[in-house]
């Protein structure tokens, strides 16, 4: 089955059909949940990365700040994923043909990989080299805000 056929069958599945016929208010709730997850995730990312850049909450060590915000990052991602699913399912074929949907998917995969590898590694070291810390921060910020920006652009092209 091609990807297009897959998206087609997703959109016309029983689950999606029932979602489509729900009240429009439901769509608004899904989007607001998406925004909530977005703020939880991005605020945490901003805080830790600013710290890696040597500014912001300098009263904390990088390790402590990363540890404190970790739960917000994962709660945020969970809310984003669940609400994202509700947004995606009833209109899968519309997203399929939207180039920025695919850009977002690629950036998201990259962001999560960096989050679980480089970011996690740098934020658990006592004294990361300044160059490593700063480049990790920049990369993390660019990727995550890139996900957010491309997500917003999807809406403009739909």
């Amino acid at each position: 089955m091609s990807t297009q056929e897959l998206f087609n069958s997703i959109q016309h599945s029983t689950v999606s059909a029932s979602l489509t016929h729900l009240n429009h208010l439901f769509g608004a709730v899904a989007q607001l949940t998406h925004i909530t997850g977005l703020v939880l995730l991005l605020t945490s990312i901003v805080l830790v990365n600013l710290r890696l850049l040597g500014v912001g909450l300098t009263g904390y060590s990088v390790i402590d700040l990363a540890k404190s915000t970790r739960r917000f990052i994962w709660i945020g991602l969970a809310l984003l994923a669940i609400s994202g699913l509700f947004i995606f399912l009833p209109a899968a074929t519309i997203y399929y043909i939207n180039p920025f949907f695919w850009i977002k998917v690629e950036l998201l995969i990259a962001a999560v990989i960096v989050q679980l590898t480089l970011f996690r590694w740098v934020t658990t070291k006592d004294h990361p080299s300044p160059v490593l810390a700063k480049s990790t921060a920049v990369l993390s910020l660019v990727l995550w805000f890139g996900v957010g920006a491309s997500g917003r652009i999807i809406g403009y092209l739909n």
């Binding site: 925004i35 703020v39 991005l42 605020t43 912001g56 909450l57 957010g148 920006a149 917003r152 652009i153």
Partner: protein
């Protein structure tokens, strides 16, 4: 000049029209307005969580506020400027929406709450700075702030939703 008259002037202006009919500028301004939530509302929520004693409890509240202040100010400044430009381009449309006025009213309430905090409660911050659970009045200000900004974000999201 009436409100509608003023809104019409903004809407018809060169800047308002240019923004509204642009391919990239409007999306850029609106996208920035959205993503900057992480620096404005996100950071203020963090301070509020400290004030209600739910987060960063071992940090003196004054230290948290002091270190985040420049980022909060910058974040809200961007929020304000992008919001102003959005209003400029859509003035006549949004003034018809009750949810827009709700958003402005609650922003005003949040501002009053902030003033009350700064002028009255932060005066003797030394007394409760290191307390994990600050005094009742401080917690009230924290919860109020959280509540207000949640309503602001929800009503903000509903503006484009109810516009069409």
């Amino acid at each position: 000049m009436s409100l509608i008259g003023f809104a019409q002037v903004l809407y018809d202006s060169e800047i308002g029209t240019a923004i509204r009919e642009s391919l990239f500028v409007f999306p850029f301004i609106e996208g920035t307005h959205l993503l900057t939530l992480s620096i404005s509302v996100g950071l203020i929520a963090l301070v509020d969580l400290r004030l209600v004693g739910l987060f960063f409890r071992d940090t003196p509240a004054s230290q948290l506020i002091r270190q985040l202040r420049p980022w909060l100010l910058g974040g809200f400044a961007v929020q304000f400027v992008t919001g102003l430009l959005l209003f400029w381009s859509l003035a006549t449309k949004v003034i018809e929406l009750p949810v827009f006025w709700l958003k402005l009213a609650v922003i005003l309430l949040a501002g009053i709450n902030l003033l009350w905090f700064e002028l009255k409660l932060a005066r003797n911050i030394g007394e409760w700075d290191s307390q994990q659970i600050p005094p009742k009045a401080v917690r009230f200000a924290g919860w109020a702030s959280l509540g207000f900004w949640i309503v602001v974000v929800i009503s903000g999201r509903l503006i484009p939703y109810l516009q069409y």
